[in-house]
């Protein structure tokens, strides 16, 4: 585990509200805002107006790397991963919690990153598809998906694999029916379901810690 800052995160972390409001993006936003907001921002007095532009410091451990970040309260974990940390493995399928393509593990539990607000995860550990392989060595579930052709277009695959690992860890991979039930939060438009079940079964049967 190491402290690691991505582009600009240290700067924005130490920005005071005044400095932040001077940044061009914020000024652009102010130009579009109502006169009341502009006046409030100029005087730096109105708490509510400033809160709208203010970023919140958030500390997250993503795939073993600690990040000190600064995010708007409305930013989801999915957008944070993809846009700020450039971890584009987690996919935005529906963005409304219906498809499972954005599945990640937060503190060891599989969750939907599109419905998780980043500010609410302060201090937590996130694992994404990028955090599974050890160097060149793929995770057993990744290997099994390749072996059994558990995908076609591949868009749902990162979410399927994150969910599949949790499915085995939760001990919900004891029969085809149970696997299907506990993988039902991950939709595959190509219909690779039967091969996904085969991949999960193989990992389950091999046993060991995954």
């Amino acid at each position: 585990m190491n402290e690691n800052y991505c582009d600009g995160e240290r700067d924005s972390l130490h920005d005071s509200r005044r400095q932040f409001l001077k940044q061009s993006s914020a000024l652009a936003a102010i130009a579009l805002a109502t006169p009341v907001l502009v006046r409030a921002a100029e005087k730096e007095l109105d708490e509510k107006a400033s809160a709208y532009f203010e970023k919140v410091p958030v500390k997250l451990e993503v795939n073993g790397v600690v990040h000190q970040l600064s995010v708007e309260s409305r930013v989801t974990v999915l957008d944070l991963l993809r846009e700020q940390l450039h971890l584009t493995g987690s996919k935005k399928g529906c963005d409304y919690g219906q498809c499972g393509a954005c599945t990640v593990h937060i503190n060891g539990k599989r969750v939907l990153s599109c419905l998780s607000l980043a500010v609410m995860q302060d201090g937590k550990k996130i694992t994404t598809i990028e955090g599974l392989a050890k160097g060149e060595e793929l995770h057993p579930m990744q290997e099994a998906f390749i072996k059994h052709d558990g995908f076609q277009c591949g868009y749902c695959t990162p979410g399927q694999i994150m969910s599949a690992i949790a499915c085995v860890r939760e001990d919900h991979a004891n029969s085809d029916g149970e696997i299907r039930q506990y993988m039902s939060g991950n939709i595959c438009r190509c219909g690779a379901y039967s091969n996904i079940v085969d991949a999960i079964k193989e990992v389950k049967e091999k046993g060991g810690t995954i």
Binding site: Y52, F53, V56, R74, T76, Y96, V111, L115, S116, L117
Partner: protein, 328 residues
């Protein structure tokens, strides 16, 4: 999603104070419903008060009740040994809801407070008396396949989407809320409302109240012959068209006591008291189950696309009772 102010108080009292201070603030816990609604512009709180870290997560056996903290996750409750052994109906209902990922996020309190999935409520260009009082009900003469057949009004025919709440209605739970002036206990059947002329109000929770726990009577009589039957458009991960929570207390084939509640049929979890009363003291036979089902449907009324529920609902009641009693 428009931006909002964010606070994370460390005590229930501070959370309630923060809510009382700001009329546009809302609590957030799991966020599985609220974030969705905010993204779609259905609701737009200017401040979110994050209660997810408050110490309201424990699941305990206290005397003759089981108390579940409002922030216990749906997955934690469903798989908790106490719930699996003593309240299997609740465990079954929870596992029938949503997906494993959502159950890992959603809390018990949030599940109770989730909004309807009526497509007219979700689509902000459509009329909806629940979202915008006075704008009309798009579903009444529109696409109403998923809608209510019992307890409806001309203002709203939406259904409550929860599975968990159907089991809690059957089991006679109590919702415990904190107001900062003390505790209020609300019997589960009085918690949610029928739409009447105020469909914008889903339930009887008052502003400034925080759900802290639910309590369920621990009754061994309803821990064996139980079944939660959920019928939906796909085998898993869909809201119920019809669901039935059935619990039987059997003495041989005689029914000592019975609890029945339905989901997918009304604006609130629908307890079938008349059908329960009919079955008490009778034999657990298919003929009696069918008659109870037809009694339960006496007031039911379809709106066109959902007319199939008038047949599906009584069949589901009979089937749930058959499975619960071991006849199926």
């Amino acid at each position: 999603m428009i931006n909002f102010d964010y606070v994370r108080p460390s005590t229930s009292k501070a959370a309630i104070d923060a809510l009382n201070k700001d009329a546009t603030a809302q609590f957030i816990a799991g966020g599985t419903n609220l974030v969705d609604l905010m993204k779609r512009g259905v609701t737009a709180p200017q401040k979110l008060i994050d209660i997810s870290r408050l110490p309201l997560k424990s699941i305990q056996h206290l005397g003759n009740v089981i108390r579940i903290g409002a922030l216990a996750l749906n997955s934690e409750v469903a798989e908790h040994e106490l719930i699996v052994n003593k309240l299997p109906l609740l465990s079954q209902a929870l596992n029938a809801g949503a997906s494993p990922q959502l159950r890992n996020m959603a809390t018990v309190g949030g599940n109770i407070l989730q909004r309807t999935r009526c497509p007219y409520f979700y689509d902000t260009i459509m009329p909806c008396n629940k979202r915008q009082p006075g704008s009309g009900c798009g579903a009444l003469t529109g696409y109403n396949r998923y809608h209510a057949i019992l307890g409806t009004s001309e203002q709203c025919i939406a259904v409550h989407p929860s599975d968990m709440c159907v089991a809690l209605a059957a089991l006679g739970a109590t919702v415990i809320v904190n107001t900062n002036k003390g505790e209020r206990r609300i019997p589960f059947l009085d918690f949610h409302r029928l739409p009447g002329s105020t469909p914008e109000r889903d339930n009887n929770l008052q502003r400034g109240e925080l759900i802290t726990a639910i309590e369920i009577p621990q009754n061994d009589a309803f821990s064996k012959n139980v079944h939660y039957l959920k019928i939906r458009d796909r085998a898993s991960y869909a809201f119920a068209l019809i669901s039935v929570a059935a619990a039987l207390d059997l003495n041989g084939t005689a029914i000592n006591n019975v609890r029945l509640a339905m989901g997918g049929v009304a604006h609130k979890p629908w307890r079938l008291t008349t059908a329960e009363n009919f079955l008490k003291g009778k034999a657990a036979t298919i003929a009696n189950f069918e008659q109870a089902a037809s009694i339960a449907m006496k007031e039911a009324k379809g709106f066109g696309h959902n007319n199939f529920k008038l047949k599906l609902a009584p069949n589901a009641i009979t089937e749930a009772l058959k499975i619960a009693s071991g006849l199926s």
